[in-house]
Symmetry: C2
Subunit: 366 residues, 2 copies
């Protein structure tokens, strides 16, 4: 029983496939009679019953109770995803919406991920999750300090991962251009390439000394830099979620209590991040986690499909879909794959400017 289906003849496979697809469509246990309507299967209900009975014995199907139809087991879904599922063909409309994302040309990874989750949720009608783990190796390549007005300066940090972060800093004393120049120089010579843990008290003191007249700026500036290096948003990364409301359409989530628990996990974000990032790297196709293959208790009745997003060979995040176990895996896998690919390309390829017209990227800040 390894889900390779070697024990199944063609007819069994066909019937199993039909059952799964019917169940995904209708959401209810499917009976032998219902399957006789399927023209692919030219058999009587009795024969189908026999096959179903054997499929159940083999562990591919389950019966909620004696006289209900059959429901795919987790094992059944697994085999379906591995072997039975056909490639989903995107509709014209879906392709158009995907391309709109590419054309938006958002330069900021955060915004891009946000748009991507929204798109994924809208296309699949499930909940979409994007994660951007914090990189402990993140450092600043170069600093720029800009005078905003005499009480405020803006610190621009070109990060080692190619992104750009900014921070505003207030000062109680009047700022001058010379001070900023000094500050910029000191930061560039002393803080570049340092990880958050490497910014220690002695270093801070050395910097203060070197900063001369800009001394009073050093402490708030360093605080700011550390915050940025430590990953902005959350403790350990960022999670964006979109389209939770879709889930309420599925009877699986009509129980308010259970749904609340799932929502709780999503809001916690930690588990999700762990789940998605800890998965070992695979062949580049989306990873499908069904029910108990997932360790999070509240997600036993759900399935998760996600793929990591690479940029320049490094994993910079992941995007995925969360839905009921009874999920349109074919469509979801294709969608996730396509979006993740596009994102990877976009992040990789954008410096080269695909069409070479008037390019523009933008970001936003306080």
């Amino acid at each position: 029983m390894r889900g390779d289906g070697s024990e199944l003849n063609e007819r069994k496979k066909m019937i199993l496939k039909a059952i799964i697809e019917a169940h995904v469509r209708e959401g209810e246990p499917v009976g032998s009679k219902y399957l006789t309507q399927n023209k692919q299967i030219a058999l009587s209900s009795a024969t189908i019953r026999n096959e179903m009975s054997e499929l159940e014995e083999m562990g591919y199907l389950e019966q909620p109770h004696t006289s209900a139809g059959r429901v795919p087991s987790e094992y059944g879904y697994r085999f379906y995803v591995n072997s039975l599922m056909q490639k989903y063909r995107m509709s014209q409309n879906e392709l158009l919406r995907m391309n709109a994302l590419v054309k938006s040309r958002l330069a900021e990874v955060d915004k891009l991920l946000e748009s991507a989750t929204q798109l994924a949720a809208a296309l699949t009608n499930y909940t979409s999750i994007a994660v951007k783990p914090r990189q402990s190796t993140l450092t600043v390549d170069r600093f720029k300090a800009v005078l905003l007005d005499e009480g405020r300066l803006m610190l621009i940090m070109l990060m080692s991962d190619g992104t750009v972060k900014t921070a505003q800093i207030r000062s109680e004393m009047t700022l001058g251009a010379d001070m900023l120049e000094r500050l910029e120089f000191v930061l560039n010579s002393q803080v570049c390439g340092k990880r958050a843990e490497e910014i220690t008290m002695p270093l801070a003191l050395a910097i203060e000394k070197a900063a001369a007249e800009a001394e009073s700026l050093v402490s708030p500036v360093l605080k700011c830099i550390c915050q940025t290096l430590e990953g902005g948003e959350g403790e350990s990364g960022e999670v964006k979620i979109s389209g939770v409301n879709h889930l309420l359409e599925y009877p699986e989530y009509s129980d308010a209590r259970k749904f609340k628990e799932l929502l709780g996990v999503l809001e916690e974000k930690r588990d999700i991040l762990k789940l998605v990032t800890e998965t070992e790297t695979e062949d580049g196709r989306p990873r499908v986690i069904i029910g108990s293959e997932n360790s999070v208790e509240e997600m036993q009745d759900s399935a998760l499909v996600f793929q990591k997003i690479r940029s320049g060979g490094r994993v910079i995040g992941a995007i995925g879909i969360l839905g009921p176990r009874r999920m349109d895996y074919s469509k979801v896998v294709s969608t996730v794959e396509y979006i993740a690919e596009n994102l990877s390309e976009l992040l990789d390829g954008s410096p080269e400017l695909p069409e070479g017209k008037k390019p523009s990227g933008n970001g936003e800040n306080s």
Copy 2:
């Protein structure tokens, strides 16, 4: 029947108040017998029944069915909020958490609002909403262009509302410091103080001409500026929502279908924005909208408490709480009021640096 309660004697008020508070606590219709446990009310159940009957006739109470207890009517809640409700006393713990927000010293309005909603949701155990309407009068006070590397520049915009926005722009040609200087100068002289609608084609052409060698940058830069002026995020403003899952704790929202509809409204965001921003300015206390006082169909069973946030005399947003009609108005009103006040002060007062120690603000960008 204007909710002024002039028709009610003290005893009726006391009973009404007890009923409402019991119902808010228990979530179920309250009967006359239950009220006799209340030591404030030293009356027999029969007497209370008579009073309740009269209160129902006057419209303050309702009876779900003949032999159930009474439930406050919308009108009853309204009177409670206007006249009966006592000031909520914050616990030590609550005050501490409020102050943590103040001390976080976030300079960016967006982040501040986000933290504030999270706090409000956590404190009240309802859903919290913060809105930041787009200001059609938004203009740029001053531009700064900074060279990131030879292919990218960063545009910093000091906005008329005191905030700072940034945008990254890519160029297909190698950028030089002189080009940026030129660009900065042209933008400062031609685009400052202009609203999005005022940036027209003829103006763009004039700018291109004036930009000389930086000509090819003008188009993407202007596009970017327009996007920023038009309010970044959404069509007409930004809405942040936190703690939707809290609502699932209340039986009022246990019906998945209804809850989904409400969620839909929240995701739409447009209605919310309209609802909150269109409310006429009042005395500075939180506004309470109960049930049908609100025009959004899906929110008929809910109540909304919110207050506008002012900075420098102008309304820059609002923060509020959404919950069941049966809501702890006392606590919610106090919380919203306190948070809104703190935000206003924070936004107003922060330039003066309350404690005069080492201040720091930060923002984040791509």
